[in-house]
């Protein structure tokens, strides 16, 4: 019996319910379509309707997890660490994007995909803070980081392509997280 493994089950419950991340990943891609004004996304209300639909999908998926895997309230320390990770994530994505490539006077204006780079770093840091960093996180977000850091992003700001890449990675990592989650919480013996 491993003490640390048992203590980390609550972290796994909080961070590896991967299917709940999929609506968020799709929202990244829909935001890019909205920015490009593709088809019905010319109308602002279409994106707002998508946000509501994704919110509903998230609620349904979270409920399915509760009914299938039960419920746990994380400790105060875990809740504080999760809140700190989210706040830090916003700051890094915003600050990093402005610093690496933007119209701001202090921007380094590098030929990189700033959103992809900063988002990959934040996601890897978030999983590490949660103590649930797995090889597939390195594979998915390492690829995103490498692709974003390649000095090939010349020309117009590639923010929208970055959003699509981030969305695809969130969906891929979400599916792999769910598989890891299902391995961590196998069905009860008498189910």
């Amino acid at each position: 019996m491993e003490r640390r493994e048992l203590e980390r089950t609550a972290w796994a419950y909080t961070h590896l319910r991967g299917l709940t991340a999929i609506p968020g990943g799709l929202l990244f891609m829909l935001a890019a379509l909205g920015n490009w004004q593709v088809g019905p996304f010319r109308h602002d209300w279409v994106f707002l309707a998508c946000v509501l639909a994704m919110g509903g999908a998230y609620a349904l998926i979270a409920r399915a997890y509760r009914e299938r895997y039960g419920h746990v309230t994380p400790s105060t320390e875990q809740q504080l660490r999760a809140a700190a990770a989210i706040a830090l994530g916003f700051a890094v994505v915003l600050g990093g994007s402005l610093l690496l490539r933007s119209r701001a006077g202090f921007s380094l204006d590098l030929p990189v995909n700033a959103i992809a780079v900063t988002f990959a770093i934040v996601m890897l840091a978030t999983y590490a803070i949660g103590g649930v960093l797995r090889p597939h996180h390195f594979a998915v977000y390492g690829t995103l980081l490498a692709a974003g850091a390649l000095p090939v992003w010349h020309g117009e700001d590639p923010a929208n392509i970055g959003l699509v890449m981030c969305g695809a990675c969130v969906v891929a990592a979400g599916v792999l997280d769910h598989l890891a989650f299902a391995r961590t919480f196998p069905p009860p013996l008498d189910a």
Partner: protein, 118 residues
Amino acid sequence: MLDLDRLIHEPGRLAILTVLSSVTDADFLFLQRATGLTKGNLSSHLSKLEEAGLVAITKRFVRKKPNTSVAITELGRERTARHWEQLEELKASAQAVSRSQASQSARRSASPSLVRPV
């Protein structure tokens, strides 16, 4: 000789208390998933732990379905932490003994002339 807490030392109960010591509370289904125990076993272990005052059990209805929520008490947290410390001590002393035995046998095999023929 260490005096181990027999109530906590049972693997199922130790698993329950260890999981609970890292959360605020958890429901029956989560504990079943996290520990791999059957419903009957989990239920019986929880009753014993509740009797000893190591966990607090709250029964309620969530969306018209019965739900059992379990939280570790301060006493349970202290006794679980102490038990794990004792297990770590035992593990460390067992490792020290096996290391000294290994080094003794290595010394014997390195100097065979010291061994008397039988």
